[in-house]
């Protein structure tokens, strides 16, 4: 029994997964062994997601959406001349102070040097803006208002679409990686939209005030929210919910349709989308195996 077994093995050697040595005796070249696709791994890197976590993560998006909605509301109120320029300037100063204090409180090594740098930059920025305000004021005089509104709305949509919701385009102190191209495009779109809207205002001081307001928000709001989020996550959630409530109440008074649209969007982003993501997770099908290109385990610094 034993010898016949040995005989059989000698006659039919084991198939090996090798390419050398010509055709393996006893096996055709199209032989498919039992070990075929043995090393294939399916869904190795799939992260199990939890609905609640995805919903909480989506708060960042809702929060920024509310910020933009607030800016648009301010624009509308200013254009309707419901807010005068002094109120607007007071708002600007208030926002600036709040922003600074948040930045100083949340940035861990509190340094006077950093503060001085920020103050200097901001003062350059404000004086530059003040000098340029007359130019913005008459910039689009020859263009019809309809085109301006259409352009401003599409630019805002581009801004929202390309915005970097997880980070900040302005580099927070201590951040390592540079902002991506898309987030830069997004920032530029928002600035152009602000210029367009500002150019429709009646006086230079109006233009200056609204430009300062929009730029403050578009440039620094992501930075502030990013710092808050990094500092304390609960605080971030609390702040976001407060912001949502404020925004919804402002838009409710402003325009009923706008309110409904915003509410629907918020529900869609923070409830429908996370649920959807969890649902389509089960269709995830990922294949890995020895044929994959190896990943380098170190950084390539060009």
């Amino acid at each position: 029994m034993k010898s016949s077994d040995g005989n059989r093995i000698r006659l039919q050697p084991m198939w090996r997964k090798v390419a050398y040595g010509g055709r393996q005796p006893g096996y055709d070249d199209n032989h498919t062994d039992e070990s075929f696709l043995e090393e294939m791994v399916m869904n190795a890197n799939v992260v199990k997601r939890d609905l609640l976590k995805v919903m909480i993560d989506s708060v960042s998006i809702s929060q920024y959406l509310c910020i933009v909605a607030l800016v648009v509301s301010t624009w509308t109120l200013t254009l309707n001349l419901d807010i005068n320029e002094t109120t607007l300037l007071k708002l600007d100063v208030g926002l600036l102070l709040v922003g600074f204090s948040v930045l100083l409180l949340t940035t861990c090594p509190f340094s006077l040097k950093l503060l001085a740098k920020y103050v200097l930059n901001i003062s350059f920025f404000i004086s530059g803006l003040y000098v340029l305000a007359p130019i913005y004021h008459t910039l689009t005089r020859s263009i019809s208002s309809d085109s301006i509104w259409a352009l401003a709305v599409s630019l805002l949509l581009v801004h929202l679409f390309l915005h970097d919701y997880s980070g900040s385009t302005i580099r927070p102190p201590g951040a390592l990686n540079n902002p991506k191209l898309t987030s830069n495009i997004s920032l530029n779109a928002s600035i152009v939209a602000s210029v367009l809207v500002a150019s429709r205002l009646p006086s230079r001081l109006h233009v200056f005030a609204i430009m300062l307001f929009s730029l403050q928000v578009f440039l620094f709001a992501p930075l502030i929210t990013f710092c808050v989020k990094k500092y304390h996550f609960r605080l971030h959630l609390l702040f976001s919910f407060a912001l949502m409530v404020v925004t919804l109440s402002v838009t409710y008074q402003l325009h009923r349709m706008f309110f409904i649209l915003l509410l629907a969007l918020l529900v869609f982003i923070s409830i429908v989308c996370p649920y959807w993501l969890i649902r389509i997770q089960e269709y995830k099908f990922e294949i890995n195996g020895p044929w994959d290109e190896a990943k380098l385990c170190f950084d390539i610094t060009e």
């Binding site: 050398y20 020895p290 044929w291 290109e293 170190f298």
Partner: protein, 448 residues
């Protein structure tokens, strides 16, 4: 083997004067098939002013079709525009099997589609590996699925490549044959004088690009130089990552220990190889890797990353494998240096002669052709369902493409009947006239 002689058309975008694994595969396979008595014609696109019909060694006829390459030596995908010329060549040369090479050759895919439309047997060889994740791979895999949906037989160069191809295209594994590459052992002989082991030379010959692991070399070379004072590197090849290697050389002051040769013409690869003891391959992905065979045939011990089909290529005592991480590569180089006194280049060369030969590859490919000829002939209506199964949208799209191609073919048959196309008389290759019994077709010099 039933002894019938085939008339084969090899199609690929990649052929001499371009150089690489696919090119030499087609060249050597064609030469050896010619020697076995088959008729072989190669079709590729025009290279520079090399356009029209050329004959290379042993009467191998090459059609350089006047289509210009537009990206990475590929012709512009036109789906139907190559039909007339493919049809004319097939009829003129009385072809029976069309054999396409390389998954990213557009000319290959188009020619196989036309050949199927005209009812010829088709065989496809896949020379590369693809992932499944990025957009480029997804697109390529769909194209491959289209071509392989109605293929007679497919060939892969390693078992890993076979697994990959089966997964990518969803064809039955029984249809896929594993026929490896080989090496011209007559061309890659070790140096007659054995090198001294006082100084150990590690040779790297590869294009210096990301996929070939040039970044890995940048990490490995300084460590190896630090650990082994008698090791010297020779790096042959050019590419975008050459600057990084030169920077590394400056940074660690290794100018006297790392020699950079720049691009090495294929004819001089052997002379570079035989000046070293160890061959280092750092590829991140590789279906087969002919470079390893060339090095082993020159008697070098190989150190390579364990990726793709590389572990299948050589027996364990001829290669040291390492994970594609710097520390493991350094460990493998150390192991190879320890193994070095026990390696005799002449013995290794003789082993390689037994392990790989293009004649063996040609004989195994011949079996694939025989199988392809045995498969039943089908008409368009039988074939369409095979395309339909390729996907809910893609399947219908593929069917439309095939139907249009069929109609175009019928139109061509009407406008330019096959009887009107002159058939080429066969010129028998020189060595079959002389009835030479020479076993190796590899020593023949290439004259192109």
């Amino acid at each position: 083997m039933d002894g019938t002689k085939h008339r084969i058309l090899m199609v690929s975008d990649f052929f001499f004067p371009n150089f690489g694994g696919v090119e030499s595969h087609i060249y050597y396979l064609s030469q050896c098939l010619l020697k076995l008595g088959h008729k072989v014609v190669v079709m590729t696109h025009a290279y520079g002013n090399r356009s029209g019909v050329r004959y290379v060694t042993n009467g191998l006829k090459v059609y350089y079709v006047p289509w210009r390459p537009f990206l990475m030596q590929n012709t512009l995908p036109t789906l139907f525009l190559t039909l007339p010329i493919v049809r004319t060549i097939i009829i003129r040369e009385k072809i029976s099997v069309v054999h396409g090479h390389q998954a990213f050759s557009t000319l290959c895919h188009e020619a196989l589609m036309h050949a199927r439309t005209m009812g010829y047997k088709v065989v496809f060889t896949d020379h590369s590996l693809y992932g499944f994740a990025d957009a480029g791979s997804i697109h390529m895999n769909k194209v491959l699925q289209f071509t392989l949906a109605d293929i007679d037989q497919a060939i892969c160069v390693s078992h890993t490549s076979k697994e990959n191809t089966v997964l990518r295209s969803g064809i039955s594994p029984e249809k896929v044959f594993m026929v490896p590459n080989a090496v011209d052992t007559a061309m890659f002989t070790p140096s007659p004088k054995r090198l001294s082991c006082d100084e150990i030379v590690i040779v790297v010959i590869s294009r210096l690009v990301y996929r070939k692991g040039a970044d890995l070399l940048v990490e490995v070379i300084p460590d190896v130089c630090r650990l082994f004072p008698k090791v010297r590197f020779i790096i042959g090849g050019d590419g975008p990552k050459r600057v990084r290697l030169e920077e590394m050389r400056e940074k660690f002051s290794l100018q006297d220990r790392v020699e950079m040769l720049g691009a090495v013409p294929h004819a001089q690869v052997r002379s570079v190889l035989i000046s070293g003891h160890i061959f280092l391959n750092s590829s991140l992905t590789e279906a087969f890797c002919i470079a390893i065979l060339e090095a082993a045939s020159c008697g070098l011990l190989t150190v390579s990353t364990r990726v793709g089909g590389v572990p299948e290529v050589l027996p364990d005592d001829m290669i040291v494998l390492a994970e594609p991480a710097p520390e493991d590569m350094v460990r493998a180089v150390k192991k190879a240096i320890d193994m070095l006194p026990g390696i005799d280049p002449q013995v290794m060369h003789l082993r390689m002669k037994k392990l790989y030969s293009w004649d063996d590859v040609a004989k195994r490919t011949e079996i694939v052709y025989d199988r392809a000829m045995q498969s039943s002939t089908t008409n368009l209506l039988d074939r369409l369902p095979r395309y339909l199964t390729c996907g809910s949208w893609a399947g219908k799209l593929f069917c439309i493409v095939m139907i249009i191609n069929y109609l175009l073919w019928r139109l061509l048959e009407f406008l330019q009947p096959a009887e009107g196309i002159e058939e080429v008389p066969d010129i028998r290759p020189l060595h079959s006239q002389l009835d030479s019994r020479d076993d190796s077709c590899e020593a023949q010099e290439k004259q192109i």
